[in-house]
Amino acid sequence: MQSQAEVNMPDQEVKHALQSEFVSFTVAGQAFCLKITQIREIRRWSPVTILPHAPADVLGVMNLRGAVIPIYDLSARFGLQQTEASERNVVIVVAVHGKPVGLLAESVSEIISINPEEIQETPQVDSRSTMEYIQGIISHDDTMVRIINLDAVISAPEQVI
């Protein structure tokens, strides 16, 4: 009995260690997700201060406890239509290269746990910008959830600004 437990325990531990948790949310009707460790906090949308001359996907800046952080519209970033931001929307605060950045999403759905082997490679499609921003896809409850490549989303267009 005891020996069995000893054998089983590590197995379960290994499984848990390999599993990672993702937060899924919708952007322009599509399901996306980010690793939970990448997310610092999720806030309700409140009007931001507009940055002059900013591209359409940069909504502006927000005061996060004394720090000025930029807010990106994920939808516009992915080449989808611009989000009409409202109280119902959320800002997902992530840390990119140690700096906080806010991402506007329609709504947050749930936390999903998946094994690494469940992550599928992004199939080749025509839209190049999409390809850059998507790291892989997961099938979850019969819907496709896209894993966002955070570094590509935040760093690449910043040079354009």
């Binding site: 940055l51 001359h53 900013a54 359409a56 800046v61």
Partner: protein
Amino acid sequence: MSGSIQDTFFEECEELLEAMDEGLTAVEGGDHDPEIVNAVFRAVHSIKGGAGAFGLDELVGFAHKFETVFDEVRSNKVQLDTKLIQLLLRCSDHLADLVAVARDGGSTDEEHHDTLIAGLEEYLDEEEEELTFEPMGLGGPAAPPPLAIESEKNYTIRFQPLKEMFGTGNEPFFLFQALSELGDLKVVLDESELPGFDSMDMAESYLAWDLELTSSEPQSRVEAVFEFVEGLCELSIASDKDDEEEAAALEALNAAFGADAGPLGSGLPEVTPPAAAPAEAPETDTSGPFEAPAPAEEVKVAEAEPVEQAEAASPEAAKKEQRGPKPTLRVELERVDRLINAVGELIINHSMLAQQIANLNAGDMRDVETELEGFKNLARDIQEGVMAIRAQPVKPLFQRMARIVREASSATEKQAKLINEGENTEVDKTVIERLSDPLTHILRNAVDHGLEKPEDREAAGKSRVGEIRLSASHRSGSVCIEIKDDGAGINRPKVKQIAIEKGLIPENAELTDSEIDNLLFLPGFSTAKEVSNLSGRGVGMDVVKNAVTGLGGRISITSTPGKGSTFTIILPLTLAVMDGMVVSVGGQTMVVPITSIVETMRGSDDMINSLGADGTLLSIRGNFVPICDVAGALGLMKPDDQPPGVYLLVETETGQRSALAVDDIHDQRQVVIKSLDGVCGNIPGVAAATILGDGKIAMILDPESIISAGGTAGFDTERRMSNAIAS
């Protein structure tokens, strides 16, 4: 641990290099005060000592040569002439390089290294033998013995190092070693002050040594061993030669007197007072006719000497204090910054509180408002105090610039001297750090492009040596830094020609002189015909301008052909807080720095005059000033098409006036500057951001760049375009 010690060493090096530079600059200026030469020598020696402890051989080797030459100068064996001073200056630069290499890795120019070594050795050649001979003479067993017989002395030395001594890389062991070369040394460690392990401070010094040295050397030699730890330890040196000789004299006396010989010779303490008193009396009285007076005299002199030196040391220390900075506290910058951030939050917090209270509408609030005013004043006091901590004199920065000019002039075969003014002007540390690159660039340019070749200067009736004046001063809430050369001035036709060639301006452009001067700041502009090693590495004056505007400052240039050019950099005193006018523009709240506003006024239709299709001028007491629509310049839509109601009259560095049209003015208040660096790229027209009382972020505008973005014509098209994109 070793990392932190090494850090300390490099920190010390910075200070020592600074001291060395300061000394050398004074020497260059004709001040050959031995004390200054000594100071430089000590600085080099300390660097060498520390470097030796870390096994930085190259540094040690070079510092040694450098130091040796200085030793020659110190002992007046070598005369300080212009050539030597120039060499020493170059060596000090190289030493700084070596230190930097030791710290950051990389490599130095070996050829340069060898040239300097060779240069230094020139001054050593004749002396070298003597130098190598000297220590041999000291340590050689042959010489001392006969001397020792003659007059061997017993020195009792009490040596207690202060913790600062270990910080300079000095090692008691080496001191003892040096002492043991002088004679027979007995070392006794006094560890009585050593605390238990729990209460021990790693950096503190607890040990002391009692040394007994039997040597034939004069006391001055013994003292010389401790020269480098002077002021870093508690030291007392007493020689008993006097006592011995005294005793000898006494013995002679006693022998003469016979009877009292016993008690006096042994010097017993048990001697009863009555017996001691007469014994002493004859000693002084009777010494006259005997041979005793000579040694007795000597005793006095020998005794007086240490006292004199102690006295000499203390004024010297006081002098050092006067010369160097006042007692200071070394604090990690991060701690200060944390404090500054907290104060910033405090100010934001105050304005939030004030706004909340104003929103309460709760009857008589006068008392609260008074207290709130007091709160505001206190916050401002704290803020000013904290900013003062960060403020530093520009002196070290300016001193580094002397080197830039030196290198630039030798590379271009021009002669230039840098004159620094207002070195004690205090500026925020970050400003000083970030000014280094732009200043370097401007100075290199001044030497490379500004100053003429010596022969051309002579032909123009100027002194062969070009003069560059670097000055700093405070000017109404900002810092003004001027770089003024007496070169040929800007060749305007050439500048214009190049700008046309590079397509920076249209061929038929009519530009005023100052507009042409400011073409230098355009990206992609470089007048250097060939890419010289010095300036013109593809990095232009636009980088300088960006660096300065990045600090919230502005730069302008004036030039008189044949007389020279002047670059003026105006910088804010602090980077953290400023006074601003809160305005609304295109539905957004924004802040305009108060320093740039000359006057504010409410406009009426009859004050506005059209000029051409799009241009509008505002008439102010008979003067016409171009109107710049801020909302348009920032690409913001206006809520409706009503003309902006309020104008802010601003004046740029070049004296050009413009009226910034905004929707409304709300308030004038102190705002905390939040940099947008790393949040988004450089936004034209926006200097930074701030957080207002309601927690919202407001942009801090940069009036100058709004105006230069094109105040009138280009705007409407831009606005139409952004409107089109938006709809």
